[in-house]
């Protein structure tokens, strides 16, 4: 099934997320990624990624639009939008020769070293989902101790 993205503009108040997520839960649709930011207007923008067929996507959109705190539901086409994700990574303590190799590898992938202590590294990488996936795979579980990921944020390319 196709990846779907909703960009939801809604009131920034307690319980709104519960109202939204239960619409998906009830229909046994898994939310793959969810991010929330506050717009300059004070409204919240929630970006949701899930998989569903056309019929369900349309139904979900209409049901969400009926929720009182929701102002707008935009369907974003992944192809027509700018997508970014951030990952923060922490490595295990590494012996000096490996340490430098890993630093180089992270920087070559577009990442940035934020902190380093006793051979362990904290770094940040932002970019497209696949780009981050590739770096994480190449570092592997031997090196990585912890990964925190933001989920994907999208903005349409339309002005």
């Amino acid at each position: 099934m196709k990846n779907r993205i909703f960009s939801i503009l809604c009131q920034n108040a307690p319980g709104v997320m519960m109202r939204i997520t239960r619409v998906f839960t009830r229909r046994q649709i898994n939310i793959d990624s969810i991010t929330v930011g506050i717009e300059p207007s004070g409204l919240a923008r929630i970006i949701l990624m899930f998989k569903a067929d056309d019929k369900h996507t349309e139904l979900l959109r209409h049901i969400l639009l009926k929720l009182e705190p929701i102002e707008a539901v935009e369907v974003i086409e992944p192809e027509d939008s700018v997508v970014r994700e951030v990952a923060l990574i922490k490595t295990n303590p590494l012996p000096p020769d490996q340490h430098w190799r890993i630093v180089e590898q992270i920087e070559r992938a577009g990442g940035k070293i934020i902190d380093s202590r006793e051979g362990a590294i904290i770094a940040e990488i932002s970019g497209e989902h696949d780009q981050i996936e590739r770096l994480l795979r190449s570092l592997g579980p031997e090196v990585l101790r912890e990964v925190a990921r933001s989920g994907q944020v999208y903005i349409s390319r339309e002005f």
């Binding site: 109202r19 009830r26 139904l59 209409h62 049901i63 009926k66 009182e68």
Partner: protein, 560 residues
């Protein structure tokens, strides 16, 4: 602006919305609001004996009057007792405002005495729900609650009211100056109308299918005008009963599992299904793949989320039913060539003649069909009929010819046993000049029979006609038809003597065992001026037939 407590503000807000009646039961977390009711003259509070009944009564009040019904409870068990009633109102799009007390804001989340997380419990079963955190928000919350409940597709709204908010004081302006801003498409676009008219003028075998949305939008006159203009037969959903007088020559009766055969066959044969204010419930459509198989489907509904949800739609109009029908009628008037449907009407009328259901049985025990006939004759066109759930409900839905909108009140989406009697109480409070009759089952009546006390104490003379078959009859029917007659746990055995039960409460009570007794005794019950129970002993082995099995095709019913 005036300084007042939250408790006082509740009643001021309700009065500002035009509320005259509230159904409820007090308790610790709502006691100060009830204190502020003491001496209030503009609002009548009806003390029910169970909160579920308060919710159903508010629902019945709303459905009979078209105005929102209000119920009130304490926190915890009082509030959770509302749940079935509120979901019932939600499923059937009925504007109910439910208010319950809550523990103080400082105690919320501490598992305080009689604390229930009503915000979470009510969330999926209301159109919207609120908790009032500060007294300053109270007028706005009430204003919005009524707006939400009554705008667009109606539905219930719950307000959770913490104890400290009721006690605190503030300068308040009531009604609050807030506007409900949710965008709503009420009018059809010109191109939507043109396309609908094109489909209608090309149809040779049209059927109009009307639901509760027609009744809520007050579109019955337009529905009838359209049907007559097109000479198209009209079927309805359960909740659409009364949208067209069921003795109108174009009315086919109800569609679906227990619908009229003529309606089910007409929908199966039609080339255009013109659906207004319906949601294509599985109980109405049967197998959706064989539903109206030859037809183009037009669907008018105010709720965009209903379009294409259950059946494929060829032309959708998201709009208010009344406005959409009006626009279509005006456009049609320019177009129509007369008499295009005469062959179709002949076909439908011959089906109707051949499949007319029989009601004139003289048997003892009484056949339920005959009981409906007797009730219909005595009750007259003004009577508001409510129903419980089960065979009793389907006898009423299938056979009772409802003449007016808002005169048939039944639990459709949820199928809630115990709904009919408190709903009748609510309907009678809303419409005191109309006779109100609950067509009940013995099982269903026992689920809220304690409300006899409410009816007697508050002098609300509704009549309950119990179709007493000593069974949970509809479940028994399924067991007989689909489970090899293994009647597991459906025999009610020695049900109470309902006439004596009624009398014990101070109500009128009697029993009818022969068909000829029903009419005179019902008349006596209605003329008693008291709440009344007529215990009609009916044939326990009678099935509601024809019946389309769940998921079956409308043209393949079980006949015997």
């Amino acid at each position: 602006m005036a300084e007042m407590t939250g408790a006082k503000a509740v009643w001021e807000c309700l009065k500002a919305e035009g509320v005259k009646h509230v159904f409820g039961i007090p308790g610790g977390a709502i006691i100060s609001t009830y204190d502020a009711l003491y001496g209030e003259t503009e609002i009548t509070h009806i003390l029910t004996r169970h909160e579920q009944a308060a919710a159903h009564a508010a629902d019945g009040y709303a459905r009979a009057s078209g105005r929102p019904g209000v119920c009130m409870t304490t926190s915890g068990p009082g509030a959770t007792n509302l749940v079935t009633g509120i979901l019932n109102a939600y499923m059937d799009s009925s504007p109910v405002i439910a208010i319950s007390g809550q523990v103080s804001t400082t105690a919320i989340g501490t598992d305080a005495f009689q604390e229930a997380d009503m915000l979470s419990l009510m969330l999926p079963i209301t159109k919207h729900n609120f908790i009032v955190h500060r007294i300053e928000e109270l007028p706005e919350v009430f204003r919005m609650a009524f707006a939400i409940a009554t705008t667009g597709r109606p539905g219930p709204v719950h307000i959770d009211l913490p104890k400290d908010v009721q006690l605190s004081k503030a300068e308040l302006e009531i009604p609050a100056k807030v506007e409900y801003r949710k965008p709503l498409k009420l009018d059809p676009t010109p191109s939507e109308v043109t396309r609908a008219v094109e489909l209608l003028v090309h149809a040779r075998q049209p059927v109009i299918y009307a639901g509760g949305g027609v009744i809520w939008s007050g579109a019955s006159p337009e529905l009838i005008e359209l049907a007559e203009l097109l000479q198209a037969p009209v079927t309805t959903s359960l909740l659409g009963k009364g949208a067209i007088p069921e003795d109108h020559p174009l009315a086919l009766g109800m569609l679906g599992m227990h619908g009229r055969m003529v309606a089910n066959l007409a929908v199966t044969e039609c080339d255009l299904l013109f659906a207004v204010g319906v949601r294509f419930s599985d109980r109405a459509t049967g197998d959706v793949h064989h539903f109206a198989p030859r037809a183009k489907v037009v669907h008018i509904d105010i709720d965009a989320a209903e379009i294409g949800k259950n059946v494929r739609v060829d032309h959708a109009i998201v709009a208010d039913a009344k406005r959409a029908l009006r626009a279509i009628i005006e456009a049609l008037k320019q177009h129509l060539r007369k008499g295009r449907t005469s062959e179709w009407l002949e076909r439908v009328n011959s089906l109707r003649r051949n499949l007319a259901p029989r009601m004139d049985y003289d048997d003892v025990p009484i056949k339920p069909q005959r009981a409906i006939k007797e009730i219909m004759e005595v009750a007259g066109p003004d009577a508001i009929i409510t129903t419980e759930v089960g065979q009793c409900q389907m006898w009423a839905a299938h056979f009772y010819r409802v003449r007016r909108p808002r005169h048939f009140i039944s639990s459709g989406g949820l199928g809630t046993m115990g709904f009919g009697f408190p709903a009748a109480i609510g309907a009678k409070v809303a419409c005191p000049d109309h006779p109100v009759i609950d067509i009940a089952g013995d099982g269903s009546f026992l689920m809220n029979s304690q409300e006899l006390a409410t009816a007697v104490e508050n002098d609300i003379p509704v009549v309950v006609c119990i179709f007493n078959n000593s069974y949970l009859g509809m479940v028994k029917q399924w067991q007989d038809l689909f489970f090899g007659k293994r009647r597991s746990q459906t025999y009610l055995g020695k049900t109470p003597d309902f006439a004596k039960l009624a009398q014990a409460y101070g109500a009128w009570g009697d029993r009818a065992s022969k068909p000829s007794e029903i009419g005179p005794k019902l008349r006596e019950a209605m003329e008693s001026g008291k709440p009344a129970v007529l215990d009609i002993v009916v044939d326990p082995d009678e099935h509601v037939l024809p019946m389309v099995p769940a998921g079956g095709r409308l043209d393949e019913p079980i006949l015997t």
